[in-house]
Amino acid sequence: MKRLFAVALGVLTAIGGFVDIGDLVTNAVVGSRFGLGLAWVVLVGVVGICVYAQMAGRVAAVSGRATFEIIRERLGPRAGLANLAASFLINLLTVTAEIGGVALALQLATSVDPGWWIPVAAFGVWIVIWRAKFELLENVTGMLGLALIVFAVALFMLSPDWGQLAGQALQPGPPAEEPVATYWFYAVALFGAAMTPYEVFFFSSGAIEERWTVEDLAKSRLNVLVGFPLGGLLSIAIAGCAAVVLLPRAIDVTSLSQVVLPVAEAGGKVALAFVIVGILAATFGAALETTLSSGYTLAQYFGWSWGKFRRPARAARFHLAMIIGILIAVGILATGVDPILVTEYSVVFSAVALPLTYLPILIIANDREYMGDHVNGRAMNVVGQVYLVIILAAALTAIPLLIVTGAGA
């Protein structure tokens, strides 16, 4: 029974960890413009994050080494530092987006301007990282994040034309009225939102925080294979809601209130309450995960002491780095930049940075010195290499598409 509970919690965590401000916004934007025409990208992204997280989790559990220690070892100090710089900056952009997302969710709940909520959100993130136990922060945000299931419920309550939605999903390709480049730009953005690198830094470092060993491999696999696909289903439900309500009225998603509009229309105030709780938990959880990831990446590259299982004074530089990271994020938000815009850029750049961290993990997952008998099987390697090609293609086309389409305008 206790084991079942442990797995259940892990699954909840994965759902909460998958859906963040990037998925919320990108899926709603895509749904309002292409209906379910890009649902296939979510599927590709979910399988990809399963492959990637499964490998990183297995490497962490078997070898006890987290992602960035391995990147430094394999790439050496120079290429490792370039990798660290890219990953850290994009992660910082994601921290900014998530803290902004928390502020926007609080604005939805209270109608108080998000400018007032940003310091509150940032302080909340810091105090939880400073004082709360790892399991506690994982379980609470994961559990509350489940409230996002209201998107799936809302989709049913809207009683959409299922045939039409299935038609959009099964006939991928750019619609006649949208340029081809824009379609592919959003495909890359959606892929980046699904396969955000911080999810893997967090997953692999979290495995070490929770002291996973070889015996926990089955648990890791179940967490990945149930949690991320459920997160993907939620993503498609968000896009579906936008496709049913926003697409016919040609409403462009530029704020969080438009993301939740379909839910409010379907279920009224009760549904709105659920969706606000869900968004708050998902963005707050993701803000914790991204902030921790910024500390993890730096500490692992330089060999500092890290981890939430230590008291802060025993992982001093790790905590100092996270405090500075949060302050920078608040500084960026204080310029008045729209958090939704930050989010849209962060998912695209996530796609750009993905190969930098994916490739070393794929190599180590095949290294017997680290993995013993738990190296990748043949099937895993085939899938892993197919995804290497997909990830490289997304990374190389992301910036050209960003420029050509004017960020999807």
Binding site: S63, G64, R65, E69, R72, E73, G76, P77, R78, G80, L81, W130, R131, A132, K133, F134, L136, A299, Q300, Y301, F302, G303, W304, S305, W306, K308, F309, R310, R311, P312, A313, R314, A316, R317, H319, L320, E369, Y370
Partner: protein, 138 residues
């Protein structure tokens, strides 16, 4: 230490007893943990004794030995080139190394090493002064 170090310019025909490690592949850039598995640093560089930089190696001369793990400013030297003055080097003597696997383990506590001074400074003067900084998470 029973392992023999096989540095890049070691004689290929020499067959040392014990486990053979490639300094570049198996030691450089590995995580260094102390006796209690607390991370201390990463192996930023190694100090070799018995070899002069740029000098010709005479045939039959004794093999160089690894004398210390270098860290701190040494990382910047490896990143950007140049030389740190010997006085500014932060070294962990090689005799403190207890084991080499996927990590380098020391046989002593990291609290007493020079390599830990930045961590100790940040801990004492910044992080330790924030309320709750010295308590376990709840």
């Amino acid at each position: 230490m029973t392992e023999a170090m096989n540095t890049n310019d070691a004689d290929a025909t020499r067959q040392p007893a014990g486990q053979v490690l490639d300094a570049h592949l198996h030691v450089l850039d590995r995580q260094v943990l102390d006796r209690d598995a607390v991370p201390v640093t990463t192996v930023d560089d190694l100090e070799l004794d018995g070899i002069e930089l740029g000098a010709r190696i005479e045939p039959g001369s004794p093999p160089p030995t690894v004398s210390a793990i270098l860290t701190g400013p040494q990382l910047a030297m490896r990143l950007f080139g140049g030389h740190a003055p010997a006085a500014r080097r932060i070294a962990i003597p090689w005799r403190l190394v207890a084991d080499i696997g996927t990590v380098v383990r020391l046989g002593v506590s990291g609290d007493d090493l020079d390599a830990g001074w930045v961590e100790r400074w940040v801990s004492r003067h910044l992080i330790g002064r924030i309320p709750g900084g010295r308590h376990d998470p709840e």
